[in-house]
């Protein structure tokens, strides 16, 4: 007798077909008519969702706006705190730079700082003092360029200004700018603005350039300003340049 595998036995029903009961077509027809209703339902649901969104959005925006105001307020406080901290850091940096200088320089610095404070106090009393100081970094040739600028509003008001610039540099390329006691004293007496700049340069091949001409010109216009500049240069190849409006 012939033998065969199960798969071969069942392969006879591979293309098995059977006529489905007739009611199945009617059911399918009914189902095919339904999707239109589903589409309508989807439309209704989407419309309802839009309406809900329309109602929820304004409330959500309202709450969001409140929270944003709070955050803005917090941000401003933080900013002000940060500004105060920056000021403190600047003061600390000044102190550190002073500490790094030699005792002689320190004494001069202390003096000049105290004088500067006095000058500031006197200037504050006049209510027309604006203090802007730009400290430019020295270059490799030990050249210190300082620039002093005044706001335009002060020129218009013809107020007195005091601008002091100090640069303390330690190490090989030392340069130092400070306001002189004498100059400040004369400033006190005259109650004029004083722009004083002192530069102490130690080491070899020191040179000093000051860009106070513009400042002095502006001061001339005000006819109340005194610019005194003294430069003390120690070491080899000293050069001295000073310009005085007096």
């Amino acid at each position: 007798m012939k033998k065969q595998k199960i798969e071969d036995i069942f392969s006879s029903i591979e293309n098995f077909s059977s006529v489905p009961p007739p009611e199945l077509w009617t059911k399918i027809e009914e189902e095919l008519n339904k999707p239109k209703k589903k589409k309508r339902a989807i439309l209704w649901w989407s419309a309802a969702a839009c309406l809900l969104l329309g109602l929820l959005l304004p409330t959500a925006l309202h709450f969001n706006s409140d929270s944003s105001i709070e955050t803005i307020n917090n941000g401003s406080i933080e900013k002000s705190i940060a500004v105060d901290e920056n000021k403190r850091n600047l003061d600390n940096n000044k102190a550190i730079s002073n500490a790094e200088n030699s005792p002689e320089e320190e004494s001069d610095i202390v003096k000049s700082l105290s004088l500067e404070k006095i000058a500031n106090q006197s200037n504050n009393s006049q209510n027309d003092k604006t203090h802007r100081t730009k400290i430019t970094p020295f270059n490799s040739n030990n050249i210190v360029n300082s620039s002093i600028s005044y706001p335009k509003s002060n020129k218009n008001e013809k107020t007195n200004h005091t601008v002091a610039e100090k640069t303390f540099i330690t190490g090989r390329q030392h340069s130092f700018n400070s306001s002189d006691n004498k100059v400040l004293q004369s400033e006190k007496r005259n109650q004029n603005q004083t722009v004083a700049e002192k530069t102490f340069i130690t080491g070899n091949q020191h040179s000093f350039n000051s860009s106070d001409n513009k400042v002095l010109q502006s001061e001339k216009r005000n006819q109340n300003q005194t610019v005194a500049e003294k430069t003390f240069i120690t070491g080899n190849q000293h050069s001295f340049n000073s310009s005085d409006n007096k």
Binding site: M1, Q4, F10, S18
Partner: protein, 183 residues
């Protein structure tokens, strides 16, 4: 015939009921036969048949007039049948652990006995759901174990073991008929 079929398909795309009826009349016997092979009872087969035909008419616009339309229809039906089985599997988890000692015994060859198609269909429908599905996909759809594993979300080994177990059950059934006849 092919031109007529294309016309019916185009009618179906336009949601024309006469075209849909023509397609139904042409392919429903084969497709209903598939449903009967894959489902345990006739009621389940009817439900799947109905749902699958609705999908056919809803997705007929996706048919690109390339390849066999009957093949396209069968794919939709088989996917629907697999989906139904996977749903059932979730409801009643059938743990089937692959056992290499018993699952890879050499298949015994049987003497040819004339068995009616209805009887063979009955034997298949008596198989557990997963065995039946794997057996149908392997024997009738000529799918490989890797494909079956992907479709049924089982491992390849499980597919192989399911097939072997299904074969053994069917073998016993056929042998019992033979023994009954000889007795």
């Amino acid at each position: 015939m092919k031109d007529d079929l294309d016309i019916y398909i185009k009618q179906c795309i336009q949601n024309d009921r006469t075209g849909q009826l023509k397609i139904y009349q042409l392919f429903s016997p084969v497709l209903y036969g598939i449903c009967l092979k894959y489902m345990k009872n006739e009621d389940d087969a009817k439900d799947v048949f109905q749902e699958a035909f609705i999908i056919v008419f809803q997705k007929i616009h996706q048919y690109k007039f390339e390849g066999s339309f009957e093949g396209w229809l069968k794919r939709i039906f088989i996917n629907k049948l697999i989906e139904t089985l996977n749903k059932k599997k979730k409801e009643s988890f059938f743990l089937d652990v692959f056992d290499p000692d018993t699952d890879f015994i050499e298949e015994e060859e049987l003497e040819i006995i004339p068995i009616a198609q209805e009887k063979l269909l009955e034997y298949i429908r008596e198989l557990p759901d997963q065995y039946r599905m794997v057996f149908n996909l392997y024997v009738f759809e000529k799918m490989k174990h890797r494909e079956i594993a992907e479709k049924l979300k089982i491992s390849e080994g499980t597919s192989k073991s399911n097939l072997n177990r299904a074969k053994r059950i069917l073998q016993k059934r056929i042998l019992s008929i033979k023994n009954f006849k000889t007795a």
